[in-house]
């Protein structure tokens, strides 16, 4: 177990180093931070002083080391666009994105798994066909178009739900939540559906395929022969064994959800990290971009690590196989 974790951590390290090198290169060589910070009028002496102050006259690896050291302490400099510390900006906006992502993931699981089980069990019923057609459309519809259609129907035509923003939020310490107010919950509905729909169809198709696979195996036939009820066979035996890949995919998709939140947040003007990032790309606000890149990379690496560990915990074959060496 310990060796497994260390091995995984060692694999994650080069990824993080590469990403931080990339994000440093962006920080250091794209655009001219000195010119941006000084504005229009400055003397050569002022310019040299600022360069020395920022450490831009030092060798590449010294600068890179400093960048990594600062990043480890959550220090990414000032945003060019908003002239405020990047770390502060991101901390302010993280709760909005995380709440949205978790709601979307919950929705995808809570609806996707039952739909997958149903379509796997009753393959030829008309409802299954309807679900499958629906899932194909879900895969082919771009996220932003789903959002626009939902806004058109539920905000413009019916006027039931708000089309932008988070509604009223409540501050719990530094965490601002929209889950505790009525308008906050209402504002969360459309963005969560928009963001979760793709993952929902993905999970549904996955559970369906796994269920069909598992139902063909001998131990299911044996369980039926023992006279167990359908319910016990389907949920106690079959569903349990489909969950391993579902855990993996859901975990990995959590990263994709956070990345796709960029699109959803743009459609709904949701004040999260994704909107901050897209606004920064538009005006080439490099400090925000490189901080976001590092943060997302860290998130992906962490999620991958957790998924690997879960796999290890859920699937006993991995543990035994490793002990005896390769087959």
């Amino acid at each position: 177990m310990f060796a497994f974790i260390v091995n995984r951590l060692l694999q994650a390290l080069p990824v993080m180093l590469t990403v931080s090198l990339l994000s440093f290169a962006m920080f250091a060589y794209v655009g001219d931070p000195v010119a941006i910070m000084l504005g229009q009028d400055y003397t050569i002496a002022q310019r040299d002083a600022l360069i020395a102050d920022l450490g831009l006259d030092q060798p590449f690896f010294v600068q890179f080391g400093k960048f990594v050291w600062n990043a480890l302490q959550g220090e990414f400099g000032l945003s060019y666009r908003l002239s405020r510390p990047v770390a502060q900006l991101i901390v302010e906006r993280a709760p909005a994105t995380l709440e949205l992502a978790l709601c979307a993931a919950f929705l995808a699981l809570a609806v996707g798994v039952p739909m997958g089980v149903y379509t796997g069990l009753y393959r030829h019923s008309w409802l299954s066909r309807f679900f499958l057609t629906f899932s194909l459309i879900g895969v082919s519809l771009p996220t932003f178009l789903i959002g626009i259609l939902l806004i058109l129907v539920f905000s413009v035509w019916l006027g039931w739900l708000p089309s932008f923003g988070r509604g009223d939020t409540v501050n719990l310490g530094w965490w601002s939540t929209g889950l505790l107010t009525w308008s906050g919950l209402k504002a969360l509905i459309l963005p969560s559906i928009t963001l979760g729909l793709f993952q929902l169809t993905l999970i549904m198709r996955l559970v369906r395929a796994e269920m069909m696979e598992v139902l063909r195996t001998d131990y299911i036939k044996f369980a039926r022969a023992r006279g167990l009820t359908n319910r016990a066979v389907h949920f106690g035996h079959a569903l349990k064994n489909t969950l391993v890949p579902v855990i993996t995919i859901t975990g990995l998709q959590l990263g994709a959800i956070i990345a796709f939140a960029i699109v959803t947040e743009t459609v709904f003007q949701w004040p999260g990290m994704g909107l901050l990032f897209i606004q920064s790309v538009g005006v080439a606000d490099i400090p925000v971009m490189s901080a976001y890149l590092l943060l997302i990379a860290l998130m992906f690496v962490t999620i991958n690590l957790i998924v690997d560990l879960l796999y290890y915990a859920v699937d006993p074959r991995l543990r035994i196989g490793r002990g005896k060496g390769a087959h």
């Binding site: 082919s140 178009l145 990263g255």
Partner: protein
């Protein structure tokens, strides 16, 4: 018909007799999606000749015609079938020209992914060892990051590094590059898998024995035999690339507004959604869905039809 013609049927005859054609013509959904895809692609390619108006000809635009609803609505104009936008541009013609840009980006991006993917996959599968380990490790890292994020970063960096005028000129190539570069690992993995199977077959060993160079074995012996699955993934990837382009353009970082793609049209139309002019954004959206859905359905069918396990 003479005996010779019976014994050696023509190409058309052979195609109509093949398994592939049988499975195609016996699947109504596939035939329908093929027709839809053909109409979309045909309309896009022939846009300059068959579009009812030229949306880029500023002289023919009249602000009087702005915000006309579709022809079947009460005050619609029959010469603007799907209505007009805020500039008085015909929505149908804009869609046809927009689909041209979308498809161009999609095809070029897939072509780039295929080229990189096949090269990497062949090298990894045939050469093995360190080359294999390094290439597949890069592909793994690449696969953990979503395409849209990588494309956004590439676009953001280019935008920051170049002045605005230069960027607008090369924006189309940047988008193609950004999407193409982020999709190659799926091709590389498939090609590598098939190459590992092919490299131990007798015909490759025979080629090696008579002293043909490794590069030539890879290109002219192994490559033709691993192309089947590549075709399937390329079809599925085309829909995906068109979607990625639309998403980037919708976010405002894709192709410039001077050359609007379907995604750009949707973004522009989105501003008028709340004032009731829904057709400006919904019709390009429907066109995008029809195009992507039909291409995806064709890809799905091709995958099932070429997979001997499912026969």
């Amino acid at each position: 018909m003479s005996d010779a013609a019976l014994r050696r049927p023509g190409a058309l005859r052979r195609m109509l007799d093949s398994d592939l054609w049988w499975s195609f013509s016996h699947s109504p959904v596939t035939v329908a999606s093929a027709i839809v895809a053909l109409v979309c692609i045909g309309g896009a390619v022939l846009a300059p000749w068959i579009a009812p108006h030229n949306p880029f000809d500023l002289a023919s635009l009249q602000l009087m015609d702005a915000f006309k609803p579709p022809a079947w609505e009460a005050d619609g104009d029959p010469s603007y079938l799907l209505g007009t936008d805020d500039q008085g541009r015909d929505v149908l013609s804009a869609i046809m020209y927009g689909a041209r840009v979308s498809l161009l980006v999609g095809f070029c991006a897939v072509l780039l992914s295929v080229t990189i993917g096949i090269t990497a996959g062949l090298a990894a599968g045939y050469l093995g060892g360190t080359v294999d380990a390094v290439l597949m490790r890069i592909a793994d890292i690449k696969l953990t990051f979503p395409t849209i994020l990588i494309a956004l970063l590439i676009d953001g960096v280019v935008r920051a590094a170049l002045p605005r005028e230069v960027h607008d000129q090369i924006a189309l190539y940047v988008v193609i590059f950004a999407i193409g570069i982020s999709n190659w690992p799926s091709f590389a993995r498939t090609v590598r898998g098939s190459t590992l199977v092919e490299r131990n077959k007798e015909y490759v060993q025979a080629a090696r024995v008579i002293g043909i160079s490794r590069a030539r074995i890879m290109v002219s012996h192994v490559l033709p035999n691993v192309l089947g699955p590549v075709l399937v993934i390329a079809t599925l990837n085309l829909g995906f690339a068109v979607l990625a382009e639309a998403t980037l353009s919708f976010l405002g970082v894709g192709v410039p507004p001077t050359q609007p793609s379907l995604g750009t049209l949707i973004r522009i139309g989105n501003d008028f959604l709340f004032s009731g002019e829904w057709w400006i954004t919904i019709f390009p959206g429907i066109a995008l869905i029809l195009l992507v859905l039909s291409v995806n359905l064709l890809g799905d069918w091709l995958r099932d039809a070429l997979n001997p396990k499912l026969r």
